[in-house]
């Protein structure tokens, strides 16, 4: 029997006795904002994607052609031609700049909005958002496809605010999230577990309670066909699947759309392999499919699909990376780490449409207009999702930690309601 989301909520909402679920049952208080992060792991070249420099020398502009976007005067590289047609619906930040040029440190800064510290493990934006908006019953509030970046996790926040990693490759035929289908004996095992709990009746530590709540969540997720179906790409028509592309990034984006539509608050889609120190042109334009082709198809379809379904005002999508890449091609035809300039593309939610924020110099080396730090971007995203600058978390050692870096700015010009 298939249960609709509404029916599932009714049925499973009637079991508040399950430890740890009372809070989750308060999902009704959550707003309806969602966030999808497309994380290009390794450092996406800004020059070869969203901030091409066609007027620069060949050693900088690279071999890729450029294409006009739907926003006058703004160009992308040619492989992103479908995305270019949607630029008038997006918000492009071209002046991201960071002092962190190392993968780990750069990712930490971008994903947590704070520079790394040996004293505090900062939570990622996904966990911060998840802490504000509880997921539905049995449904994790934060999902990573296929698995989260190390710094995309909960940091010092409670474990249940960390991402649920789907694992696997959604682009492969027959992809299923592992172990979501109930084992034939799982009912009997859970029944034995309940009986043992009564027999042993020992006080449980916080770690054990956390573990118990995850087990309950696993139990609900497997018992609830609605949740299982959300993770099942087979529920989509072949036309829709085809439109996103039969590749990892495309099907990951489709899964992300299914999840936010079903109630998941944050989805991190992590695409690896963007660290192109050697022959970047080939790395971006060859392959099955080429990196940029996959990105173009997946993201443009995601935008169109969200719009078709009327989710564009509820869902914020951001395409980002830990840093940009060196404007000048190195002797191996690659580009190295470059944190002084990079770009991020944002769509939907509370962000203004058809806007380019900031600008890099003629060679794409430095922002020359309205520089934006990762902390600024992080704070602006949180503000767009309804969080205020004064919000604080309490770390495990009892210290109040501001959610947003106190030195950061909220970029009001990017936001609809604050502009």
């Amino acid at each position: 029997m298939k249960l609709s989301r509404r029916t599932s909520l009714k049925i499973f909402g009637a079991i508040p006795f399950i430890p740890g679920l009372v809070e989750v049952a308060m999902a009704a208080r959550a707003t309806d904002r969602h966030f999808i992060l497309l994380w290009m792991d390794g450092g996406m070249s800004h020059i070869d994607t969203l901030d091409p420099k066609p007027e620069a020398g060949a050693d900088i502009r690279g071999p890729l052609d450029v294409v006009r976007t739907s926003l006058p005067g703004v160009m992308f590289t040619e492989p992103l031609k479908d995305l270019a047609k949607l630029m008038d619906r997006c918000c492009l930040v071209r002046s991201l700049t960071s002092p962190e040029g190392n993968h780990d440190r750069g990712s930490h800064y971008m994903l947590t909005g704070h520079r790394p510290s040996s004293l505090v493990q900062y939570p990622s934006i996904g966990s911060v958002v998840a802490s504000q908006f509880h997921g539905d019953i049995g449904l994790p509030p934060y999902v990573a496809i296929p698995e989260s970046h190390e710094f995309g996790r909960e940091g010092f926040l409670p474990a249940h605010l960390g991402p649920f990693d789907t694992g696997g490759d959604p682009g492969k035929p027959g992809f299923r999230v592992k172990n979501l289908e109930p084992h034939t004996q799982s009912e009997a095992v859970l029944s034995v577990l309940d009986t043992l709990r009564n027999l042993q009746s020992q006080p449980l530590s916080q770690d054990e309670l956390d573990r118990g709540s995850f087990l309950n969540q696993a139990r609900l997720a497997t018992q609830n066909s609605f949740v299982r179906d959300l993770f099942d790409l087979g529920q989509e028509s072949s036309t829709v699947r085809e439109s996103y592309g039969h590749h990892k990034l495309g099907q990951s984006c489709l899964l992300a759309r299914r999840l936010v539509e079903g109630g998941v608050r944050v989805v991190q889609v992590r695409d690896t392999g963007w660290d192109h120190h050697v022959n970047i042109n080939q790395a971006l334009t060859y392959g099955f499919p080429p990196k940029l082709t996959a990105l173009n198809q997946a993201l443009s379809q995601l935008i169109l699909d969200l719009e078709r379904r009327g989710l564009d005002s509820k869902v914020t999508v951001m395409l980002a990376s830990e840093f940009g890449r060196t404007p000048r091609l190195n002797p191996s035809g690659g580009r190295d780490h470059w944190s002084r300039a990079s770009s991020a593309l944002i769509y939907g939610g509370g962000f203004r449409r058809g806007q380019v924020f900031g600008e890099t110099d003629a060679r794409g080396e430095e922002p020359v207009f309205r520089p934006v730090s990762p902390a600024d971007l992080f704070s602006t995203l949180l503000a767009s999702l309804g969080m205020s600058r004064d919000e604080r978390f309490v770390s495990t050692d009892g210290r109040p930690i501001p959610v947003m870096d106190p030195q950061s700015r909220i970029l009001d010009d990017l936001l609809i309601h604050r502009a």
Partner: protein
């Protein structure tokens, strides 16, 4: 009329001069003042300089103070000089913003902080009336603190200062911060009065800026009854170790009876889990069972169990991992290719009991013996922080950014200790003369190469200095190598830190939490026990196995293994609550697989590693791993069902329970368990139901934790 900029400055200066603002220089202040001692602590205590208030990085409402008064000079300037001195009205002190705001005579976002009758308000007002001096009179040099508990249970904190040639005593009570380490025993009210609650012992800590004084308080549970008026005598065959004796004495001090210890099977299970990271295997249980039937004492039984647990591969694995985590060694400790082979050999020697942990520490600190420290951390400050937290139990990292008034270690302590780990210092004795006292051309930037550390803003190379661990110890003047210092001056500090860490690993809760915070203001839960362990550690030349054995053989370990359900008498429950030493530790995936492998008596296929907790629980619940485990030939489940066909299903359930939990199960409860499985899936055959029972058992909190 127009004024030139120069004229304007003169006019403004005239307007803002003390005479105009009300302070007549001809009238000297009525008393001696020292802003750092008399004013700053009052602001800290009132919460004005907390992170939520004006101590935040950007301040509040345009007024910024340093966090918890860590920068007195900056705070003085903020209060007295900033914004043209608008926070002060020396002619009418009561109209000063610094008083109007906290009394909420004008709007104040932080609410009502002070009343006009409070001592802090009066002090501030008088200080302003006296001209708000930075210092008036001879400068104060702090000598010591003294806390007194008065007969009416009020506390008084006195400070002794050197002012000129005099030693001056000041009552600092109203400016000090008091707290109890255990509110269930004793609490401190806002009026500095003590309230005693439940029985036990606690420290009351008085803090005045960076200085701390503490008193130890015991709240007895009451007189013991005549039958139990003294500590129960031990049997002739029992000779408790010093740890147990001290434990008994502390129980007597708080008027509690000796609580019962856990059942032998539970202590043994806990011992195996704590020492070897796995439950006892069926053959080991059979052997110990036979010793019980021979009438062996509990001590002999535990000794035998410890011998078996510590000789097993699991011991090497568990404590090898513990050592690796502690030392932040890269990779799998069993992988000889990873990291430093010589260090790995040294680690193996420690595990086999042939080498002391102090040798291991010395090897790491000595740049001639190991490159670990330099490989692990490129920055000398990171090296210093690692050594301080891992070996000394000192949280030095906080002082990296700024001084904390509640912390003993300052930013300069941090920098100078870090300089000991710079590449230049590692090859020399730590004598200041080895370092240049000339400013460096880069203006004081801290060099990344680690060759030298420079004092920020000055450009002078930082003179390396070891941490003054003991009061009055002057380590700056003597040239001593880092290795010598570790082995001599730091020996007792290391011993205390290591004892605490091992205690936590075995018992589940540390005596000092956090484990790397052995400040005076963070006393041990049971200081006497930590002292004994620490002394044992030094007497036993830092032998890991020896200290583990001493701990698991002690009475506190046997009490800590108790299940609260086993307690019945109310007085015993109080004693058990007083101990509060147990905290279940979850087994990690490898430990859990090892434990299941022990239950089934066969080597099992690897369990899929999930990167998120929900994915892990889904794998435990729904994966086919357990089915495959039960297909491994010769496993105990198969043996039980193949050769015990004459045994009925209830008895087989009881046997499964013994295999998994090392303890018997009543027939009634065995029936309940089996019925739970059968009722959930009525169509299954008995073997399938028994599999579900076994699977449920190994997923239970009892099995998945070291309890």
């Amino acid at each position: 009329m127009k004024f030139s900029p120069r004229q304007l400055i003169w006019i403004l200066a005239g307007l803002l001069s003390p005479g105009v603002l009300g302070n007549d220089p001809s009238e000297p202040p009525g008393r001696e003042w020292d802003f750092k001692v008399d004013i700053l602590p009052a602001l800290v205590r009132s919460g004005c300089s907390s992170a939520e208030c004006h101590g935040s990085a950007t301040g509040r409402g345009g007024f910024r103070l340093s966090l918890f008064g860590s920068d007195p000079q900056a705070d003085y300037e903020s209060i007295v000089q900033e914004s043209f001195g608008r926070r002060m009205d020396r002619r009418h002190p009561e109209l000063s913003l610094i008083l109007l705001k906290p009394t909420r005579s004008v709007p104040h976002e932080g609410g009502h902080i002070l009343s006009e009758s409070s001592p802090v308000y009066q002090t501030l007002k008088q200080w302003i009336a006296d001209g708000a001096p930075w210092i008036h009179g001879p400068p104060s040099q702090f000598l010591r603190l003294e806390m007194i508990q008065n007969p009416d249970l009020s506390l008084q904190l006195n400070g002794y200062f050197q002012r000129g040639t005099d030693v001056v005593q000041q009552d600092l009570t109203s400016r000090a911060h008091f707290r109890s380490t255990d509110e269930s025993v004793v609490s401190v009210h806002a009026d500095h009065r003590l309230s005693f609650h439940g029985p036990g012992e606690a420290y009351v800590i008085g803090q005045f800026l960076g200085w701390t004084h503490r008193i130890h308080l015991i709240n007895s549970h009451g007189e013991l009854s005549s039958e139990t008026g003294t500590v129960p005598a031990l049997g002739a065959h029992e000779s408790p170790d010093p740890l147990s004796r001290i434990w008994r004495q502390s129980l007597q001090d708080v008027g509690l009876e000796i609580p019962q210890t856990a059942e032998p099977w539970r202590v043994i299970r806990r011992l195996f889990l704590s020492v070897a990271g796995r439950p006892p295997w069926p053959n080991e249980l059979d052997h110990l069972d036979s010793l019980v039937h021979q009438g062996q004492s509990m001590e002999s039984l535990l000794d035998e169990a410890f011998g078996m647990a510590s000789q097993s591969i699991s011991f090497q694995k568990k404590w090898g991992q513990w050592l690796s985590d502690w030392l932040e060694l890269p990779g799998d400790p069993q992988d000889k290719k990873a990291g430093d082979p010589a260090l790995q050999r040294s680690l193996d020697e420690v595990l086999s009991g042939n080498q002391s942990m102090m040798d291991l520490i010395r090897r790491i600190v000595d740049p001639q013996s190991s490159r670990h420290l330099r490989q692990r951390y490129a920055d000398p400050r990171d090296r210093a922080e690692f050594v301080s937290r891992a070996f000394l139990g000192i949280q030095l990292g906080c002082a990296r950014c700024h001084n904390h008034p509640d912390d003993r270690w300052t930013q300069i302590n941090h920098l100078r200790f870090s300089a000991c780990f710079s590449n230049a210092a590692l090859n020399t004795e730590l004598s200041p003369i080895a370092f240049s006292s000339q400013p460096q051309p880069d203006g004081g930037m801290q060099e990344k190469s680690g060759d030298f550390l420079y004092l920020p803003g000055s450009g002078y190379a930082v003179k390396p200095a070891l941490l003054p661990l003991q009061q009055f110890m002057d380590t700056e003047s003597s040239a001593v190598s880092l290795v010598d210092w570790i082995q001599s001056s730091a020996r007792s500090t290391i011993s205390r830190n290591l004892s605490n860490r091992i205690f936590k690993e075995l018992i589940g809760v540390a005596l000092v939490e956090p484990v790397d915070d052995h400040r005076l203001s963070n006393p041990a839960r049971y200081e006497s026990i930590l002292s004994v362990l620490s002394q044992w550690m030094m007497d036993g030349d830092f032998n890991l196995k020896m200290i583990i054995r001493q701990l698991v053989m002690s009475e506190p370990f046997r009490i800590a293994a108790l299940n609260p359900d086993e307690l019945d008498a109310s007085r015993r429950e109080v004693a058990f609550d007083y101990i509060q030493l147990r905290k279940p530790q979850l087994l990690d995936v490898d430990q859990w697989v090892l434990a299941v492998s022990g239950v089934l008596g066969v080597e099992l296929p690897p369990f899929e590693v999930a990167t998120s907790p929900l994915a892990h629980q889904l794998a435990l619940l729904n994966s086919s791993w357990f089915d495959r485990a039960l297909e491994v030939p010769g496993n105990q489940f198969e043996v039980l069902n193949k050769f015990a066909t004459d045994v009925d299903r209830i008895q087989r359930t009881q046997e499964l329970h013994r295999m998994v939990f090392s303890q018997p199960l009543s027939e009634i409860n065995a029936r309940k368990l089996l019925e739970a499985a059968i009722q959930a899936r009525p169509g299954d055959d008995i073997m399938t139901s028994l599999k579900a029972v076994l699977r449920g058992m190994v997923l239970s909190p009892e099995f998945c934790s070291i309890r």
